[in-house]
């Protein structure tokens, strides 16, 4: 075998005209850079992202500026409408609603974050194992996924919530237990497709070990769909948490969440509609922002949507 680097072998094959490459832009465009370019031009996604960041900042820092503690009752100022003192009004115990919305919002977002993280990680792991190994493992995981899909989510969640719900962490764990299958399905499908792609075959043909193939070739190309799924799961978690809490089966007082606030307000719909409208629209706003962001990520990370094609 001749060494390719040997000087006498250099340029034996004429360097052909390299056509298009000559006219290319100065900077090589990496995949990440392209994705960012696409994301940046996705106005709705940018709006969603900005909105979400603002909400998070508000939840984190606003309590520092409200003079009231979320659980501090004041019998003299019960059931008030929005005012300068209490911009969101107060509840039937005279607690400041703004402080409560921000605290409850933090709890809701925390649950969303934990669920998104846990369910995605668990789902990715199982989906990846099933998709990569195939065979019996895949059959087993697929049937578990099918089983979960056949279960009506809400009634079962309710049953479990009665037994295990009550504090934010247990609600998050419960939701993760039922939502990981979504991530698992996506990842399994991706792995199955990618496994048969020629660049993965090429890696096998050069003798790369399975961990390298997964780490360098399969997983990075699955990252986009995983990220999108994680985002959508966060939105879903917020809705499910609110539903459970509204039914009195999720987060329970003295802990609070946006769902709990809506639940507490349901007796005052006619007297004080703002009590239910404010936490309610906060839920909608958060979920909408998250879904917009997810849409943008999906478009940006889809390698088939090439620039200029």
């Amino acid at each position: 075998m001749t060494d390719l680097a040997a000087p006498e072998k250099e340029a034996v094959t004429p360097v052909v005209d390299i056509g298009e490459v000559e006219g290319l832009s100065e900077k090589p465009e990496s995949f990440g850079r392209q994705a960012w370019d696409r994301f940046r031009r996705h106005k709705v996604a940018i709006a969603g992202a900005v909105m979400l960041v603002l909400i998070i900042l508000l939840f984190i820092f606003a309590p520092m500026f409200t003079p009231y503690a979320p659980d501090e009752p004041n019998v003299l100022e019960r059931n008030q409408g929005p005012s300068l003192n209490h911009p969101f009004g107060t509840d039937d115990l005279g607690r400041d609603l703004m402080a409560r919305v921000f605290t409850g919002g933090r709890v809701s977002l925390l649950i969303a974050f934990v669920v998104s993280l846990l369910a995605t990680t668990l789902g990715t792991l199982l989906g990846a194992i099933a998709g990569y190994l195939g065979g019996f493992t895949d059959t087993a995981v697929s049937q578990v996924i099918n089983l979960f899909l056949a279960v009506p989510l809400l009634p079962v969640l309710l049953v479990f919530a009665v037994r295990f719900g009550s504090n934010p962490i247990s609600v998050a764990l419960l939701l993760s237990l039922f939502l990981w299958i979504r991530a698992a399905r996506v990842v399994r499908g991706q792995f199955l497709t990618l496994k048969s792609m020629e660049f993965v075959q090429a890696a096998r043909a050069m003798g790369a070990k399975p961990m390298r193939i997964i780490g360098r070739h399969v997983l990075p190309n699955t990252l986009g769909p995983i990220l999108v799924e994680a985002t959508l799961l966060a939105g879903l978690a917020i809705i499910l948490e609110s539903t459970l809490s509204f039914l009195g089966l999720g987060v329970k007082p003295p802990d609070t969440s946006l769902g709990v606030l809506v639940d507490e307000a349901k007796g005052f719909i006619t007297d004080r509609p703002t009590r239910i409208l404010i936490p309610g629209s906060m839920i909608t706003l958060i979920v909408l922002s998250i879904n917009f962001l997810g849409d943008g990520l999906r478009d940006a990370l889809d390698p088939t949507s090439r620039v200029g094609d």
Binding site: L4, V15, V21, F199
Partner: protein, 341 residues
Amino acid sequence: MTEPILEVENLVTHFPIKAGFFRRQVGVVHAVDGVSLAVDERETLGIVGESGCGKTTLGRTILRLEEPTSGRVLYNGEDITDASNERMRDLRAELQIVFQDPYASLNPRHSINDIVAEPLLVHGWDRKKALDKTGDLLKAVGLLPEHGNRYPHEFSGGQRQRIGIARALALEPAVIILDEPVSALDVSVQAQVINLLEDLQDQHGLTYLFIAHDLSVVRHISDRIAVMYLGRVAELADRDELYENPAHPYTHSLLSAVPVADPDLERARNRIVLEGDTPSPSAPPSGCRFRTRCPIAQPLCAEAEPEFTEISPGHFVACHYPVPPGQSLVDLVGSSAAAAG
């Protein structure tokens, strides 16, 4: 005669068809169904056939990208079908592959340097040395080392195929399996890549297994050619012998079906147009597999499978009634029709 560098003995690759809740096996795809071949060092053996003939699976099974159901693959006399994982990793440096689809065969997220250097890194090279070599490899396939930090989507199909070739060359293999390497390319670019492959073979003493469906391309690049049909080799001969004296009726019809870019010739041809479609490889016909479409099939063809026999030195055919040298299948079809009428 020297020992062949690569030998395939009675190789069989079956894929189970599974269905139902318990994924029970309900059938078998006979992708490769008893193929024997030998490839000499520095030779190009062309494998030609239509979709479903098993040519791609054959290539992948030789590299153990698919596990063989039975049979053996010998590389320099060593049986690699039961080689350990460790041994197989070493052997993979010697046996490389170039894929058909220049878009799917390069990881879109990796730079060209990363792609071409990967085989070296996998085999324990130091990153800096690997990147040095990448520049030389890119030069060897007609690209510039500066292209190394670009990404696959910035290149045209022909350039991507050059990158795929550079990657296959990185470990200085002895044998390269070329799986339809020019099928996806434009005509004008296809010729560039074929010339490149020929140059590289001369420079590095490579042995090629060239898999394709385009008979003109296969004839151009090959020394010997094997024609596959439904998982089997129908005919194997020297390139000129195969084109001048084809013996198998399938080879005849393939050759006659290829359009030639020469109007007078093309319009004067007596074309044999085969009836029907290739049967499914999950239910191959009894006896000779080609008999359902063969214009000169006889009762014997349905009963017994034809042996793969040597009809002249180096010319093998699996047919009960091979077409005699110099005769055209059209004449035979005419006479058998006359006899029947």
